[in-house]
């Protein structure tokens, strides 16, 4: 390809890695302090006892489980974009794949932390690991929480490898363009990658297989997270729709998070030449589609509950639609359906700013949706004498906020260490598909022998 263009792409996309301003350090310090406060709050909770949260009888799960489901949901961004678009060979995915895969990995790490935070005795979380213990006991594989452990670990491993493999050629690029400690560091990370045709083939075959493998894993992960609820005989939880419903919701919130991340990167790292409005428009159309799909699932679930007239279920349903949870419920409907529908279906409004607004409301709405699945049902189980309510305590709010800060911090650090847009994949896309060279390819004797 045009060498000047290649060089420009390299220097543009390597600039955030090579140069650091005071703004970076300020952001890291700010986010880092919030994360530190969150960690401190967690230690406070472990020291004082779980009672410092708002959990009570009957609402034994609240903010932490909401956050768990929310972050695991966000993690579906990368899979959809990278894997599915890779498999259908959609060219517009190229600048977007790594941004998305990074969201997946960090969202999974944060999400996987919450089952530990919400434990009564978190120092014993390792009992979920199947190892031959001196107590001769193994985890109970019938428990959805053990399924969670396996699913999330498989997905995290897969996503991490899916992210790291295509980073190798970019590490080689950084190695070749730097000196000093950077050259050493990236030299190690690049694993002595050279870029022979054999290496490229192997890498691309592996990426193909990983893309095919990671999609069922991603679907299974959020389905299994939904099984945490649907396996229990709790009104409005024990529903067969939960698997697909949660997966749709996860992809929905994942795309919203991706749009926000891309918009932020575009602004802060000056990537206007690489992240074009058409990328946001395409993602915006996907977001609209997922909003409609999500709304369809919510409607189907609620209609069934209302029509079925099962007394406990109707109480839980009405608690969200007319009772104490109604303000949150209707906010969620506006955030997840009304606003995205209006903004994203009108082409004039489907600008980058429009997509950002719609994505922000979707993230708020999807957090509320998780909360409204967990808490109203637990407050209204089968025996009315045991109905209760829940008020979040400062501990839970602080830890929730600090995970958002943690996500932004991890993302910032990543964008500093690794080019956030996959340089080699972008260059492949820019490569003019020379019609003559393809014809020449077909004429070549060896190609004819082994097409």
């Amino acid at each position: 390809m045009n060498e000047a263009l290649a060089q420009r792409i390299s220097s543009d996309l390597l600039r955030p890695v090579m140069t650091t301003t005071w703004r970076f350090w300020l952001l890291v310090a700010f986010l880092g302090s919030i994360v530190a406060m969150g960690l401190g709050t967690w230690f406070y909770q472990m020291y004082m006892g779980f009672g410092v949260t708002g959990i009570n009888m009957p609402v034994y799960w609240a903010f932490y489980i909401t956050n768990f489901v929310f972050w695991i949901g966000i993690s579906h961004a990368g899979t959809l974009i990278s894997a599915i678009l890779r498999l259908v060979n959609a060219g517009w995915r190229r600048p977007v794949t790594r941004c998305a895969e990074v969201i997946t990995v960090f969202a999974l790490m944060i999400g996987a932390l919450f089952p530990i935070i919400h434990l009564g005795r978190p120092w014993l979380f390792f009992w979920l690991v199947p190892y031959p213990s001196e107590r001769l006991i193994w985890p109970n594989f019938r428990s959805p929480l053990v399924w969670d452990f396996f699913a999330i670990n498989t997905y995290l491993t897969g996503s991490l490898l899916f992210l790291l493999l295509p980073m190798i050629p970019d590490f080689a690029l950084v190695r070749d363009k730097t000196t000093g400690w950077r050259r050493k560091l990236y030299g190690v990370l690049a694993l002595r990658w050279r870029g022979t045709t054999k290496q490229w083939h192997r890498l691309e075959s592996a990426m193909q297989i990983m893309a095919i493998a990671i999609i069922p894993v991603a679907v299974s992960v959020h389905t299994i997270v939904s099984f945490d609820f649907s396996m229990a005989p709790v009104p409005m939880w024990h529903s067969t729709i939960f698997g697909p419903y949660f997966v749709a919701g996860a992809i929905f919130s994942g795309i919203a998070a991706l749009i926000l991340a891309m918009a932020a990167l575009r602004k802060v790292l000056h990537l206007e030449d690489y992240l074009h409005p058409v990328h946001f428009q395409n993602l915006g159309k996907l977001l609209l589609m997922m909003s409609l799909l999500w709304s369809y699932f919510v409607f189907a679930e609620r209609l069934t509950a209302w029509y079925g007239n099962e007394s406990a279920e109707v109480e839980a349903l009405l608690a969200t639609q007319k009772g104490s949870f109604a303000p949150l419920f209707w906010t969620m409907v506006v955030c997840n359906f009304v606003v995205p529908f209006v903004i994203l279906s009108l082409r004039k409004l489907r600008t980058i700013t429009g997509c950002v607004v719609a994505s922000s409301t979707v993230l708020v709405g999807m957090w509320l949706e998780r909360f409204l699945i967990v808490v109203p049902s637990l407050s209204h189980k089968h025996l009315p004498y045991t109905w209760g309510h829940y008020r979040p305590q400062p501990v839970e709010i602080m830890i929730t906020i600090s995970t958002f800060a943690a996500m932004m911090l991890l993302y910032t650090l990543f964008a500093k260490l690794v080019p956030i847009i996959s340089i080699w994949e972008l260059k492949v896309g820019e490569h003019p598909a020379a019609a003559e060279s393809t014809a020449e390819l077909r004429e070549h004797a060896l190609w004819k022998a082994n097409p």
Binding site: F150, D176, E204
Partner: protein, 169 residues
Amino acid sequence: MKAVYALYSDPNDVQRAVDGLRKAGIADDDITVISSEPIEDYEFSHRHHETWIHWIAGAGGAIGLALGTGLTSFTQRAWPIPTGNMPIVAWWPNLIIMFEMTMLGAIVATVITVLVAARIPTRAPKMYDPEVADGKILVGVENPSEGSASAIERALMSPGVARLKTIQL
């Protein structure tokens, strides 16, 4: 140990150079083409196309399946603890664990294979030029046999060559 290579800007020149090397009697496996991005449209990229990786991924999945099945049913039988009127070896939940272990097996097998097949990381010094990072394409032969060095150089000196080098690895 030495290597002879040339750097080109245009993939068409690369194709010509590769063909020239083949005519000079160099085996396909000895011709190395290095680029900073995969160049799909040319024949020289499609050598070394056959790969066992799909089979290995499948084998990894099979191993994962066996591990998942063994882990669940073996441990459930090792200390049978009744829960909730369910059977001791409960196949519905076990299927979930078996599925996850299968996928994990396939994924890990794929990654290990790609690292081994791409020979990374490698200890031996290999032919490389940092100008590849600027978009140049390298065509060369590592460890050329004694008589062929001049034939290689002739093949590589096609129009469009940016630089011809002989280096000591």
